[in-house]
């Protein structure tokens, strides 16, 4: 039984670089395949709405804006970034990006129409 067993370890750490990442001045890149913001490609979408049926959070809506023209409104405040919609889509119209800085103060802005983002 020792008193102050950590003393050596603790003093050694005085000479080491801190483990903290100085965000937002230093950013960590997320690994490949990280589930961030969902990206929608209107050209490939056929409006089958399988993504809408499989979304656990009811976050994606496919809206018809013209003859066989569709647009997705993704509610980023409801989305849980599980990428089930990406998997359910047979036409590869949805894909994941590694963007994770999605915090937003204004609630009006959050339901972003993917069409508006391009």
């Amino acid at each position: 039984m020792k008193v102050g067993k950590m003393v050596n370890e603790v003093i050694l750490h005085l000479g080491r670089k801190p483990a903290t990442v100085r965000y937002p001045f230093e950013k960590i890149e997320m690994p490949e395949g990280y589930r961030g913001r969902i990206i929608y490609e209107a050209g490939a979408c056929t409006g089958c709405r399988l993504c809408e049926k499989d979304c656990p959070a009811f976050a994606i809506e496919i809206i018809e804006v013209g003859e066989k023209q569709f647009v997705a409104r993704i509610h980023y405040d409801r989305c849980i970034y599980c990428a089930q919609c990406v998997e359910s889509c047979h036409k590869n119209a949805l894909s994941i990006s590694a963007e994770y800085e999605l915090a937003e103060v204004d609630p009006i802005v959050l339901p972003l129409t993917a069409y508006e983002l391009f």
């Binding site: 102050g4 003393v7 603790v10 003093i11 750490h13 801190p18 483990a19 903290t20 100085r22």
Partner: protein
Amino acid sequence: MSLVYLFVFPGTLFLILYALWSEWVDRKLYARFQNRIGPPIYQPIADVIKLLAKEEMCPDMADRRVFVIAPILAVASVMTAFLYIPIWSTSTPYSFQGDLIVVLYLLTLPPLAFFLGAWSSSSPFASVGSVRVITQLFAYEAPLIVVFLAPAILAGTWSISGITTFFARHPVLILTNIIGFGVSIVAWQGKLERIPFDIPEAETEIAAGSFVEYSGKLLAFIRLALDMEMVVGASLISAVQLGGSFGAGGIAGLLIYFAKTMFIVFLLALIKSVFARIRMDQMLTQCWKYLIPLSFVQILISIIVKEGIS
């Protein structure tokens, strides 16, 4: 002249600035020990300014007068105790025979003030915290007083300035004080209520313990009182146990003072980071089983050395 000593240097202004500086050093060291970055240098003063600007709330059922007076009493007693401790020379304009006892007495007032403030807060957490403050006083106060008497016996005087003058003449004799130095560091950690002795303010057990109802200006005073207590304690230990500035007045004495007090702050921060918080009953048994006998051994050593040199 003495007004400048009282209010600017090394009185109120210097004490407050040095207390904020040592709080920063302590927090930065604690963070670096834990592999973190730690706060920037303006953090302590920013905390004080923020607290001064916040709303003050006093619970309905609390005793308002005692609630307000307690932090002020703590700050006042710590500031007064600082006047009798020599900083860069071996005397102060206010020293007199017996000021060691007066300083030790003044420094028991902050825990008593915290007890009164917490007891008058009428919150269950504060009640438990206040009882713990007083119980903890029984654990560390006895070894602290005994171990400060040892250099007094060695120097043959009851005045702090007298002790520093004695050690200025025989600097090697501070080596006989090693045990006393160790005991006083541990006991001072207890007085300051820091880990492993932060039982009255155990965050995970009783929220903030004795300070749970304080906010605004009063909380700023409490935090200032705790920081100043650290500086005053470091100065007292460096003057009595480590021999003070060895009589080198002026700038050299000031530098020696800073070096010694920063070394003591380093030791206090080191102790804070390597231990867990012990329990009240364990603190009482450990202090009475180990610290008190060690402090009596120190008294014995001081008596023997005194007989040896005279």
